[in-house]
Structure formats: structure tokens, C-alpha cells
């Protein structure tokens, strides 16, 4: 049997139950790492506490290596995974807006849920802002549809962009992440 186990045609209920269970794990891990705390999270950008980088890149490494090796051993059909689509210009501008929002809010959408669930009112206000923002942007977006749909590249991956084998890019990301971890430890030691 090859994964993914619950396919598009599978039952909606089993897919939504999986979503709920995976979400519990997601929220639990974020809270354990302290990312439901805005002041701890934002320490990333002032060189005080680089937990965001460490949590994020270790999660990315584990999932990336897991997908790669499960695929290699024929246990996971990597081509069946949904790769978020690339829209270069919208993602460039969107990333800028998102980063600006992040430094004001101190929490991102996922971590704001964890903050709110652990009783933090600031987390709740971030969630309200996101919901109101979605309502407003959704209603205004028709005017910007040309930009919204521009520079679409579909499911586009780094191995395709760089013309390198999958395994080489995976190894490159591992090396880069390990260097980032070493850098993060050095920055934190200096701040103390």
C-alpha cells in the first residue's frame, strides 16, 4: 500500500477527522515550542530568542527528509502530494505585507490560534483582525484580479528551477539549515 492513504475520492468524514487530529498535534507542538507567546516569538527579530527559526527549520527538515526518503523507498507517492502553487509577484508583495503584519501582531495566523487558546487576548485580537481582513480583501479583490492571477507558475519546485536532482536540493537545504542553526546559537550567545 502506498501513501497518501486518504485520497481525493475518499470519504469526507475521514478526511475531516484526520484534519482535526493533525491540527491537535500542530497546536500542541507550537505551544510546546513557546510560539503561542507573542513576546517570545517576536524575539526572533531582535536577536533575543531565535525559537521561530529553530522550530520552523527543524520541522521543515524533518518533513522534507521524511517525504524524500519515504518516496525513495516507494512508501509515498511524492507526485501525488499537493504542492502549493507559485505566483511570483503576488507572493513577493504578499510576503512583504505579511511580514509587516507579523512584526505588528507578534503572531502569525497559526500561532495566534494557540495564543488565543491559552488565554491571550492579544491572540484573539489577531484572529479578529485576520477574519475582518479576509472579509475586506475578499470583497475588494475583484479590482485587483489581474495582479492576483499574474505570474502563475503552478506547482513549481526548486529542483525544477535550479535544474538539479531532488536529492541534491534536499542535501543543500539540510546544509543551509544546519548553518542557520549554528548562526542562531551564536546570535543568542552574543545577546546574553
Amino acid at each position: 500500500m502506498s501513501a497518501p492513504l486518504i485520497t481525493e475520492g475518499g470519504s469526507l468524514i475521514s478526511s475531516l477527522l484526520a484534519a482535526l487530529a493533525l491540527g491537535v498535534g500542530f497546536g500542541f507542538a507550537l505551544e510546546r515550542g513557546g510560539l503561542g507567546n507573542a513576546r517570545k516569538l517576536i524575539g526572533q527579530f531582535y536577536g533575543r530568542d531565535l525559537s521561530v527559526l529553530k522550530v520552523m527549520f527543524s520541522a521543515l527538515l524533518v518533513a522534507m527528509l521524511g517525504v524524500f526518503w519515504l518516496g525513495r523507498f516507494g512508501l509515498l507517492e511524492v507526485s501525488a502530494l499537493y504542492v502549493p502553487h507559485t505566483y511570483l509577484w503576488p507572493q513577493l508583495v504578499g510576503g512583504g505585507l505579511f511580514g509587516a503584519g507579523l512584526i505588528l501582531a507578534g503572531l502569525c495566523p497559526g500561532t495566534a490560534c494557540v495564543a488565543a487558546a491559552s488565554g491571550r487576548i492579544d491572540g484573539l485580537f489577531v484572529l479578529l483582525g485576520i477574519l475582518i481582513g479576509m472579509l475586506g480583501v475578499g470583497l475588494l479583490l475583484r479590482r485587483f484580479v489581474a495582479f492576483f492571477e499574474s505570474s502563475a507558475h503552478g506547482a513549481w519546485t526548486l529542483p525544477e528551477l535550479l535544474g538539479l536532482p531532488y536529492g541534491v536540493v534536499v542535501a543543500g537545504v539540510v546544509v543551509m539549515a544546519l548553518a542557520a542553526f549554528a548562526g542562531a546559537e551564536w546570535v543568542e550567545r552574543r545577546a546574553r
Partner: protein, 173 residues
């Protein structure tokens, strides 16, 4: 009383990250897709607008996406995000970290902190709509799948936050 308990120290970030990575990997293996967050807000907004003004919802390039089968109230990411709330609550409860309060530096008024939290949320929503995802759906999930857009979003969002950090110092000092 448990609320008076001294909060436990946070877990080692590498360990918490590895746990998060296993959850993300389980998501790929179980359902063939990764984790996300902002999409749950988009689908909820789509459902609300569709209930009040179905025409406006169908006209919106954002909302129309969520109106197809099984509909905005059965969006996968919304169920995942309910799970996130439960998981965050359980973890904080077990560690004695459940506390009603506002996370802010002492010199920043609570009302200011809440206003910036709300405004930051609005900006992140706009950014996530354009980017087709946020830190979870693009940076983490897209990053692990080596998506070009995921890595672009990760790099630009971090760069923007770092670039604006000196201006926002008063909020976090």
C-alpha cells in the same frame, strides 16, 4: 489551584520543531497535503458573505474558490484549525501556562497592544490572500515540498519583518 501553578519552561525548540515536522509528515502521508491556517479564515469569511450576499461571494476571486463542493463550512483547514485550538489549549493546560492576559511589554498600554494585534492581523490576511497561504501553508508546507513560491514567501516575509523591526521596537522593547 492549578491556575496558580508556576508555568513549566518551554520545550527545547529543536524538539518541538521535530515534533511539528512529524505532524506535517503525517499530514502528507495521510491526506497528501500539508498544514495551513489562513485558508480557514478565508473559507469562514466566504461562508459568511455567501450567507448574506451570495452574489458578492460568487464574484470574489477569493470567496468563489471556497463555494464549490463541499462548501465553505466543511473546509479541511477549518477542521484542522479547530484541532490547533484544542492542541494549544491541551499543551498550555498540561504545562500550567493557561492564563487570561495580554502579552505586552510593560510600557505599552493594553489598548495599544490590542490595536496593533488587530491591525497586524488585517495586514497578514491581505498578505496571505496574495501569497495563497501563510507561514504554515506556504513557508512550512511549501518549504518542505521545495516549492519556489513557498521559499520566496518565507524569505520575503522574514526580510520584511526584520527590515521593519527597528521601527516597531517600541512595541516590543
Amino acid at each position: 489551584m492549578s491556575a496558580q501553578r508556576t508555568p513549566a519552561a518551554y520545550a527545547d525548540p529543536y524538539l518541538a520543531g521535530a515534533g511539528l515536522g512529524l505532524v506535517l509528515l503525517a499530514s502528507f502521508v495521510l491526506v497528501g497535503r500539508g498544514l495551513g491556517a489562513s485558508g480557514a479564515f478565508a473559507s469562514t469569511a466566504a461562508g459568511a458573505v455567501a450567507a448574506v450576499a451570495p452574489g458578492s461571494a460568487a464574484d470574489s476571486p477569493l470567496f468563489s474558490h471556497y463555494l464549490s463542493d463541499p462548501g465553505p463550512w466543511l473546509e479541511w483547514l477549518s477542521f484542522e484549525l479547530i484541532g490547533v485550538l484544542i492542541g494549544g489549549f491541551l499543551s498550555a493546560g498540561l504545562a500550567g501556562r493557561l492564563r487570561i492576559g495580554i502579552e505586552r511589554p510593560r510600557q505599552l498600554a493594553p489598548s495599544s497592544r490590542l490595536a496593533f494585534a488587530f491591525g497586524g492581523g488585517v495586514l497578514m490576511a491581505a498578505g496571505a490572500v496574495l501569497a495563497r497561504g501563510c507561514t504554515s501553508g506556504q513557508a512550512l508546507t511549501g518549504g518542505a515540498l521545495l516549492s519556489v513560491g513557498g521559499w520566496l514567501f518565507l524569505a520575503v516575509a522574514f526580510a520584511a519583518a526584520y527590515a521593519l523591526a527597528p521601527l516597531a521596537r517600541r512595541l516590543w522593547a
